[in-house]
Symmetry: D5
Subunit: 92 residues, 10 copies
Amino acid sequence: MLFLAQMDVTIPHGIDPDELAKLKEAEKQRAQEIQRSGKWPHLWRVAGRYANVSVFDVDSVDELHELLSSLPMFPFLDVTVTPLSRHPSALA
Amino acid sequence: MLFLAQMDVTIPHGIDPDELAKLKEAEKQRAQEIQRSGKWPHLWRVAGRYANVSVFDVDSVDELHELLSSLPMFPFLDVTVTPLSRHPSALA
Amino acid sequence: MLFLAQMDVTIPHGIDPDELAKLKEAEKQRAQEIQRSGKWPHLWRVAGRYANVSVFDVDSVDELHELLSSLPMFPFLDVTVTPLSRHPSALA
Amino acid sequence: MLFLAQMDVTIPHGIDPDELAKLKEAEKQRAQEIQRSGKWPHLWRVAGRYANVSVFDVDSVDELHELLSSLPMFPFLDVTVTPLSRHPSALA
Amino acid sequence: MLFLAQMDVTIPHGIDPDELAKLKEAEKQRAQEIQRSGKWPHLWRVAGRYANVSVFDVDSVDELHELLSSLPMFPFLDVTVTPLSRHPSALA
Amino acid sequence: MLFLAQMDVTIPHGIDPDELAKLKEAEKQRAQEIQRSGKWPHLWRVAGRYANVSVFDVDSVDELHELLSSLPMFPFLDVTVTPLSRHPSALA
Amino acid sequence: MLFLAQMDVTIPHGIDPDELAKLKEAEKQRAQEIQRSGKWPHLWRVAGRYANVSVFDVDSVDELHELLSSLPMFPFLDVTVTPLSRHPSALA
Amino acid sequence: MLFLAQMDVTIPHGIDPDELAKLKEAEKQRAQEIQRSGKWPHLWRVAGRYANVSVFDVDSVDELHELLSSLPMFPFLDVTVTPLSRHPSALA
Amino acid sequence: MLFLAQMDVTIPHGIDPDELAKLKEAEKQRAQEIQRSGKWPHLWRVAGRYANVSVFDVDSVDELHELLSSLPMFPFLDVTVTPLSRHPSALA
Amino acid sequence: MLFLAQMDVTIPHGIDPDELAKLKEAEKQRAQEIQRSGKWPHLWRVAGRYANVSVFDVDSVDELHELLSSLPMFPFLDVTVTPLSRHPSALA
């Protein structure tokens, strides 16, 4: 089951640079771990923005929320989720 | 080069049903033709809406506009295009 | 799996009154049929508006879209879907 | 009398972690207390967001406001309330 | 129990002038009937707009929706309802 | 002359609790003083929000601005003003 | 007493050209009549739009609404009114 | 003096195809005439939309409005104008 | 050449009160200086808001930007500029 | 390949003035370096705002993102990117 997730990142001004660097590294590790599991098949950067467009492939909405909220930067993310279904004109 | 295209369809009330049926069939043919060319790798329906989420893979912005405006239902589409670039955390 | 669906209805001006009456009756029949199946557990009217707030309980996003697009008034609906997951503070 | 309440939570950056942990625990206790009273029949998490969708069943608008403003995290909530009435197509 | 109702009126272009005049007269009659019942204590025109700001005093949300949807011009109204509760600084 | 004023309150995080308590008490005193003058005939709480809906009855726009900006919490208020005129269907 | 009025004009497609020409001429006559009365001291075109920015000088909100709704094109206007008061830094 | 103009085109459904074809041809002629005068130095299509991004170089706001409203398709355009000034970091 | 400028002021919480008082005094001096030059013919307060509606009369867009950015409170202003042209119905 | 980039700058209150001055100087240097490369052909200030309108000429979306995110003030920018294609009425 596929969901589009559009994520905007807002880093609070004044955050400790070391803390931020650690967060970003942890975020990268967790993002790649989820991708390797096959549950995050697409991850793109939005040009010009600290934002991404993602597609998740999960068994349930609960699993989707668990994955998203497991991201170390979740407190700084504004996520919009759009449920996707099969399009009648899509090739198999 | 990838672009996210989010398309909302609005059919004017009072359109002739035969004309509409032909348009929809032509739209499906053209959409599948573009998909077979490899330039429209993802096409999903937005659940509950007459709308789709698409990803196009093109050589230029001009080519993207030519593809989108070649759709028979283009006059009824509201398309938002988001340019996508490689994400530093994306797996190869 | 639960989804919130918020539906706004817009009836085009000039629609034939008989056609509209038939549509509304068909809509009611279909809505009750889906409710009886257990897949549409909540359906409320938004006070003061030709709109509803609904909760659907489905096995997949595809099933959700099939149910919504099977409504006779689907062409006149503007539907916003929000995927719902279990809340950590919710009782049983 | 039913009201839909859509709540978005925004935690200010720099809040003391212990204070936040206490607030969250107090919030959970209070939320469950209200649920046990029967006045908060539905509480769901919005997938991917620090937000919830709730339905309250109260005797008056005053009671609704008292319940919502009794939540320990009320200062951090952005709440949108929609009054719900019986839908003519809803099953009894 | 008080509710603020903000109503915007949109008359479709091309409506028959006689039909419109009858609608407006029926609207006025019904509006005054509800006001006389005591359930519509405030009705003001928004300066410069075909719109009003109203306060309703009802026993339930169902009653509010019945009153609003009984207005002859309801199909042309866009109504936003805000539930009002007692303000702690309000004089008795 | 009547004006609708819709006020949203945003308290900055980290404000000194004593300062805030004093502000709230001063706000209440000033709000009641204006109400007693007859110039603030309606003051309601918006259910679920730190916000109010008010009606002011003043001799001029200048007087309206003086009253609103005399509120101790004015720096924390977002106020939207709507000028109200007599509605042709309103009872005398 | 001054009010800013921002007016956007939307002419319905399919209106009879003669009817429209008469409306525009009547609008111009009425607009100039109000200007000569001194109650419409400023009237500017918004560059690139069928819209204007106006300032009215009236004795009451009722008078403002009467003037605006007396415009022959009022049914095609979307008017936003902003009440203006004296600015403490304004000269004389 | 430079102005950014962002134009969205909305063609009313049901317009006579011959009338539309003439309008589009006249629009093209007039657009090229203005470009040749040097007053419309940039004209780009927005990818995926019936819209353009333009830069005008004019002597006054009046001239800008005259140019825009001289376009045969002006009644179908929604134009947003942004005045541009020299940027301190811009090269020569 | 006239431009409408709508300015909203946001004072950051925690600013030093003396610094703020000086800023406000400097703002007043500069605002009156520009007014005396004849380039800022209208300056009004928006009732109920820390905001103003202004009209500037300048020779170029560059001059407009220089004037606005010379205001001591410019960093706290959110300014929306609308270019104004002569209205065909305006009296001479 | 051309892209419109509209950039709004928000400087956090309380930033160290020396740090800000250095950032602005570095931003200017980098902006001019990119302009000299021919990849940033247009850069204009939006009148009255800390914002710019830019046009970039790049070989790919990846290159566009690299250029934008290389700006020293990127963390304070809100950038909206619009892909531009050739307009059929544009002169060669």
